[in-house]
Symmetry: C2
Subunit: 160 residues, 2 copies
DNA sequence: CTCGGTGCAAAGCTTTTGCATCCGC
DNA sequence: GCGGATGCAAAAGCTTTGCACCGAG
């Protein structure tokens, strides 16, 4: 998805409200990281984001990137995934409809999909267990039935 | 689940068949690790298993534990989970029916549950995407509706 | 002015790797 | 005996922490 000024305005407001609610300071670094994330699309990891910040005018540290990502995850502007590798993957989540992930066991690429049945489970599975489900992670590990999936542009980004 | 000699016999046979099929050597360390895993119940991480081996007569290295766990996961005698922490969690899987996991956001304990709707998704979600689903990971993150879940023995092991 | 946030580097923790030795086949 | 597997320790990779300085409120 391309850069979207209106969208950016909205997420900035949400972040501001969150920082105020939690009595956290509105630092330029926090907004710079939020904007950098919402300027790009797809999944990213800390190192990629840190590199993007460094390659621009920004003077940020990894510690601040980690700290700010935690805040953004907490206020639900970013979601965090552990795709079975050691490096956490993130993606912006505002304005995106809920989706899950399929990982190709042949080429390690990630495909997003949406299955309404998963929402049913999300909404009702907790009752029996006496839990209130806050969020979930569903990952399907699957072999590609198509040929040459590695070079298929319809598939998402490759994870490390 | 308590130690079960018959069960152990079976998994040892399965492991032997796997090692033969893959032309891998039947070392005493590999069988010792398999037995140590099947002698206990619940989830475990590498450090716990390594500690258990060390506290007994065994002379094993972490490297061998990691290597053997990879083999056991590959032949489906053990399953591996990334519960959002950095440390991978494992559990024995032979003779267990398929289940998914709920993690309490209050106390970090893991509860196993089984929802037949998940099997439906597993079996059919791949078709549309032209993938053959091999396995999946579903984790519900949920708040405990009961009081004092931390001390509830009905709930599983706490993860780090 | 205060003290929470930051940059930087060092430390921490989990996992992988290199190498000499060992042992299954 | 050959070559894969192991133990050990060192290295690698991701994340967190300690500390002095900076800047938002």
């Amino acid at each position: 998805m391309a850069f979207n000024a209106g969208n950016l305005e909205e997420v900035r407001k949400i972040f501001s409200a969150y920082l105020e609610r939690k009595n956290l300071r509105k630092t330029s670094e926090r907004y710079a990281i939020l904007e950098e994330i919402y300027r790009h699309s797809g999944h990213f990891d800390v190192e990629l984001l840190y590199g993007q910040m460094k390659s621009k005018k920004y003077r940020v540290s990894r510690a601040t990137v980690y700290n700010t990502l935690d805040l953004l995850v907490d206020c639900e502007l970013v979601s965090k995934h552990q795709f079975g590798r050691n490096q956490a993957q993130y993606e912006k989540s505002y304005g995106y409809k809920q989706h899950d992930h399929l990982i190709c066991t042949d080429c390690n690429k990630v495909v997003e999909f949406c299955d309404p049945r998963m929402q049913n489970i999300h909404n009702t599975a907790g009752e029996l267990l006496q839990f209130r489900v806050l969020h979930h992670s569903l990952i399907l590990y699957a072999a590609c039935a198509r040929k040459n999936c590695e070079n298929n542009p319809a598939m998402g980004t490759k994870i490390k």
